[in-house]
């Protein structure tokens, strides 16, 4: 029963993407354009913009999609009264929320594909296995962030949700070293990174290329998932619909 409802919910969400592609355009284009800009400006320095950069800019690209889209979609459905219809229909809470998260994943994959293409064009051939491992880590590791997105979407209007989520996204990706290397930031700002979930997502992805410890990052993301799930469930249950 719930599987059929889930399929229907995901289908509805995906149809929304296909038929209203404006959001897809901005969500995908902005991170890819950013990556292309930085690759063009700094591609000749250091190790260039290969798979390693895919880990950090890819983390930004995935977060830009997964942290923003589900929450804004939920806020929109709530404001329209459509969420009220779903609740009255007996659609389970978990199904509604997980469908929104699942529907964000194709955006994330398309974003990663765009960044990979730019990396290939600017840096030459890439190790396909590494690209797949980095992409897999980024897509799966981004899921906890979508839970925070849903928590915001359950509490704010669509326009306020966009502002709040971008206010969460932009500082955290900068302070996590996803745009610029942490060494370019003041020391005290760089030290903040280890407390931020995006930093651990990027480091986990980077470990697929450069090696290094992973379990500390995994534990941090698991803890983030638990906190995010609680926040989303509490926010949704108390949301005015």
């Amino acid at each position: 029963m719930n599987t059929r409802i889930f399929r229907t919910e995901v289908r509805d969400e995906l149809l929304g993407i296909v038929r209203e592609p404006t959001a897809l355009f901005f969500s995908v284009l902005m991170p890819v354009a950013f990556f292309a800009l930085f690759a063009t400006m700094f591609g000749d320095e250091g190790d260039g913009f290969g798979v390693g950069s895919l880990a950090t800019y890819g983390a930004f690209g995935v977060l830009a999609v997964v942290l923003v889209n589900p929450g804004v979609g939920l806020a929109d459905a709530r404001e329209r009264g459509w969420l009220r219809v779903k609740r009255a229909d007996g659609t389970p809470l978990g199904v509604t929320l997980s469908a929104k998260v699942t529907a964000a994943l194709p955006y994330a994959i398309v974003t990663l594909a765009g960044i990979t293409l730019v990396a290939r064009l600017t840096s030459g051939p890439l190790d396909v296995l590494q690209v797949l491992r980095v992409s897999g880590v980024l897509v799966l590791g981004a899921l906890p962030f979508s839970l925070f997105s849903l928590a915001v979407g359950a509490r704010f209007s669509p326009s306020a949700a966009i502002s709040v989520l971008n206010a969460m996204l932009i500082p955290s990706v900068i302070l996590s070293g996803l745009w610029f290397p942490l060494e370019m930031l003041p020391t005290w700002l760089g030290e903040v990174a280890v407390y931020l979930p995006p930093y651990h997502l990027a480091q986990l992805a980077l470990a697929q290329v450069e090696g290094g410890a992973v379990w500390g990052h995994v534990a941090y993301l698991v803890a983030t998932t638990i906190v995010g799930a609680i926040a989303a469930a509490l926010a949704y249950r108390s949301a005015e619909v």
């Binding site: 289908r11 929304g16 329209r80 229909d89």
Partner: protein
Amino acid sequence: MEHVLEVRGLVHRYGDLTALAGVDLTVKAGECVALLGPNGAGKTTLVRNVIGLIEGNSDLIEVAGGNPRSAETRRRLGVVQQAVGFPRSLTVGEIVGGAAARRGCPPEAAKQAIAEMGLTGLEKRRAAKLSGGQQQRLQLAMGLVADPVLLVLDEPTEGLDVEARRRFWNTIRRRLDNGAGVLITTHLVDEAAAVADRVVVVDRGRVVAEGTPDELRRTLPDRRIEVRTKVPVSVIRALDSVHSVELRDGRTVIAATDSEQVVSTLLDLDPEANDLTVATASLEEVLVALTNHEEVAA
């Protein structure tokens, strides 16, 4: 007859504001109950409790023997809510099909509900592009898809034209004949009076009156007499059982308990009195009297 809805002692508070102060309400299978009252009376809060969107404190609240907070019970309801905006991207067919899927019904049930609400041919149209009346019918089609045991309809005829309203009430009558219960709120009091088996009047969070439309009309003892007569107002006012007299557009309008006696006396005093009408109180007048408000709305 079996109850499809039973509410006892429902209290709902929003902070310091008591929206419902101990409401009892029942709907039997095959019965249509109209919930009437002024704005802010607590009707929407009551409806939202019944369909499980919110939860107050109650001794009992059962829909078809189940708790409305459970998803299983909610799938046995057909609901039309106020102020619902459909997703921009979905078509009529996808929306009703989705409602069928959420209730575990086959796709054919969606087609039947679409046909029943006169939306055949619009299946591929985006719901957000439908007219207000068509969107209202779409919501009802979603509600009908699972052959519900109880239809909860909050202002269901809002935005419907005459033909659509006729079709709507025919659909409701068919569902009643098939044993579904109906709980309806509407500001169209005459429509409610024509269709409802029972009317429940809510005011300030309490049920202030309950009965068939005729029973409620009889609770207001006054009859309204309108007549063209030369008898002075002061003389009429002095008659037994007369409560009020006023002149309106050249006619004398009298509110009286014993209309037969008043008319007889008037004709004795003025044999040429003409243009005489005597009317019982309308349901709307009853509601105004019961709720002591000028404006009556659902």
